[in-house]
């Protein structure tokens, strides 16, 4: 077990290292370089200054050499400064992570509270009217652009009804409840999208589980339908669903990118977007790597959850099973 985890973590580190080079090169291909940005900000920099600055910052050296310099500093824990925030990159990321965690945990709990019961309820009577309605609703939510749903929420609840604010965070100092009030729209938007997917997975897993012989045995022994559903079938159906939940863990931090941008909520997703858009090279690089590492961690958690929940599966088989998405 420990060997397996160590193996996977090692693999993950390799992937992150490879990705750091790939992202570094990609960012090098984005328009402009830091010196050009300085020239744009300060017209008194002439060609000679620019050449000197390029030399000072090492921009005249080849890409691989620059990458090596960045990587050796990063290994020692120095991730550089953010151009846009004029602070060390890690200092910028910290508070953003906390904001994203608040948003995501709210959305996650709400999505599970809607999605799982809906899926179980639908699976209990396949083909019935409630099943069809739940199916249809979850189908529509997974086919909907998240940003458009956010836009519709803003139009209905902020523009037309005026009940809730359109931004995710109060401007200026505000109390706890004011913060909660601002979080409602982004949390509900994210939860709707996620709940649809969870309902679909839950329903499929339940229907699958209900085909098992032990369900018939339980019924023959006189267990009620509710008890069979919740006591026997659900435990088996939860295995794939928990795996899906773990898989979505990594995506949680970058996946809220669109929602955070729509509601002007200062979390990790918006930070990645702003860093890429604002030519904040260092920040973009580190946040993207962070998102990659979290996604890999989520994949590992999914595989471990799979093994932990289902004694029939060994780690070797778990290693071969990749995410179905």
């Amino acid at each position: 077990m420990i060997r397996y985890i160590a193996d996977r973590v090692l693999q993950g580190i390799v992937v992150v290292a490879v990705m750091s080079l790939v992202i570094y090169s990609l960012i090098g291909l984005m328009p402009g370089d830091p010196v050009e940005l300085m020239i744009a900000a300060n017209p008194r920099i002439d060609a000679e200054d620019a050449a000197r600055l390029r030399r000072v910052y090492g921009l005249d050296r080849p890409l691989l050499e620059r990458y090596a310099a960045w990587a050796s500093a990063a290994i020692q824990g120095d991730f550089g400064y953010s151009r846009g925030f004029s602070r060390p990159v890690l200092d910028v990321i910290g508070p953003r992570l906390a904001n994203t965690a608040a948003l995501m945990s709210g959305a996650f709990v709400l999505a599970l509270a809607i999605g799982l019961p809906a899926g179980i309820f639908a699976a209990a009577r396949p083909g019935s009217v409630p099943d069809t309605l739940i199916n249809l609703a979850s189908f529509l939510t997974i086919s909907m652009p998240t940003f458009w749903l956010a836009l519709m929420m803003i139009i209905v609840f902020a523009v037309l009804l005026g009940w809730l604010p359109a931004s995710g965070l109060p401007t200026g100092p505000a109390g706890f409840w004011e913060h909660v009030r601002h979080l409602i729209l982004p949390v509900v938007t994210l939860a709707i999208v996620e709940a649809g997917a969870y309902a679909r997975y839950m329903r499929a897993a339940m229907i699958e589980a209900l085909r098992n012989d032990f369900v018939r045995t339980a019924r023959a022994k006189g267990a009620s339908w509710t008890r069979t559903l919740l006591g026997h079938a659900l435990r088996n159906a939860m295995i794939p669903v928990v795996t899906i939940m773990a898989l979505s863990f990594g995506g949680l931090f970058s996946g809220a990118l669109i929602t955070e941008t729509m509601f002007a909520y200062p979390g990790m997703g918006k930070l990645i977007f702003d860093a890429v858009m604002g030519n904040d090279f260092n920040l973009a690089l580190v946040t993207l790597l962070f998102a990659t590492a979290l996604t890999l961690l989520g994949n590992l958690l999914a595989d471990l959850a799979y093994v932990a929940l289902d004694p029939r599966i060994s780690l070797g088989a778990g290693a071969e099973r990749g995410p179905a998405r």
Partner: protein, 291 residues
């Protein structure tokens, strides 16, 4: 096909897609018939309500919303179909080669596939969309008017091939040991011929399902990127970038934001439904839903 039409929901999805395609393909004809110009701004006619002249009214600079939606549909549907087919082609090639040759070659290709699957997709697409093409030595392409169109097709295809690669590799592995394939090899058929003539036709049905589902996903990605200003660049309309403009006038004309979104929703839902139904028909044992 016949089985597909027997299911009312799938038939409806097919009909919706067909109507979308026909309407957006005939956008220039409809434009001529209405006697309007979809790109002509008329600042005296801003935010007009629906009327006989402008079926869905006009937008924030007086352009006809209905015609813009049709032209936007051309772009969004084109991106969805072309990128999905390209992704399927890449995935099929990688999957079939990996499955057929096996060994270290297979292991390397599958590690690559796992690596791409493990990446945070949307942030990566944003970086790819922000790349300066002239730094890649593609100055001519960077300056062309439809650069944004080619770019979005290329980058969505570049990250979208993984599902198909896995599916095709799995099928190839099992087909490789079947008698008809072994007979072909024994008769001296070259690897390329075995893959193209014997394996590919038998591995194609899951690819069709995955591609149908991918069309919907890619349209979603295209609309999100265009909405963020990174995809299709105005004046070329797409459903995504029409929503960017609509967001800016959300307080004065909220309904401009409704139409493009409804069209995206209808199109993507139809693709998903069609994909699900095809999957059930082609493989009755598959019960797992796909996102």
């Amino acid at each position: 096909m016949k089985k597909l039409l027997e299911r009312p929901l799938a038939a409806a999805a097919l009909a919706i897609l067909a109507i979308m395609v026909v309407l957006s393909l005939s956008a220039p004809l409809i434009e001529a018939a209405l006697g309007l110009d979809s790109n002509e701004a008329d600042l005296l006619q801003r935010h007009q309500p629906p009327s006989a002249e402008h079926i869905l009214g006009t937008d924030e600079i007086g352009r006809d919303v209905f015609l813009r939606l049709l032209y936007g549909g051309r772009v969004s549907l084109l991106v969805g179909f072309v990128a999905a087919v390209m992704a399927a082609a890449i995935g099929t090639a990688i999957g079939i080669v990996a499955g057929y040759f096996g060994g270290r070659f297979d292991a390397a290709l599958m590690r690559l596939t796992d690596g791409v699957i493990a990446l945070p997709l949307l942030p990566l697409l944003i970086v790819l969309a922000a790349i300066d093409l002239s730094k890649l030595g593609l100055t001519g392409l960077a300056q062309s008017e439809s650069a944004s169109l080619y770019r979005i097709i290329a980058i969505t295809a570049l990250v979208g091939w993984t599902t198909v690669a896995r599916l095709v590799r799995g099928t190839t592995l099992s087909l490789k040991s079947r008698d008809f394939v072994r007979a072909a090899i024994a008769m001296g058929a070259r690897p390329l011929r075995v893959m193209a003539v014997h394996i590919l036709p038998n591995a194609i049905s899951p690819v069709i399902v995955a591609t149908t589902l991918a069309v919907g996903q890619i349209i979603l990605f295209e609309s999100a990127l265009s909405f963020l200003g990174l995809g299709i660049q105005p004046p070329l309309p797409s459903w995504g970038n029409m929503l960017t403009n609509a967001q800016e006038v959300i307080w004065t004309a909220p309904f401009l934001a409704v139409y493009p979104g409804v069209l995206i929703l209808l199109t993507v839902a139809s693709c998903n439904l069609l994909g699900d139904t095809l999957q059930e028909i082609l493989d009755p044992r598959a019960r797992k839903p796909k996102r």
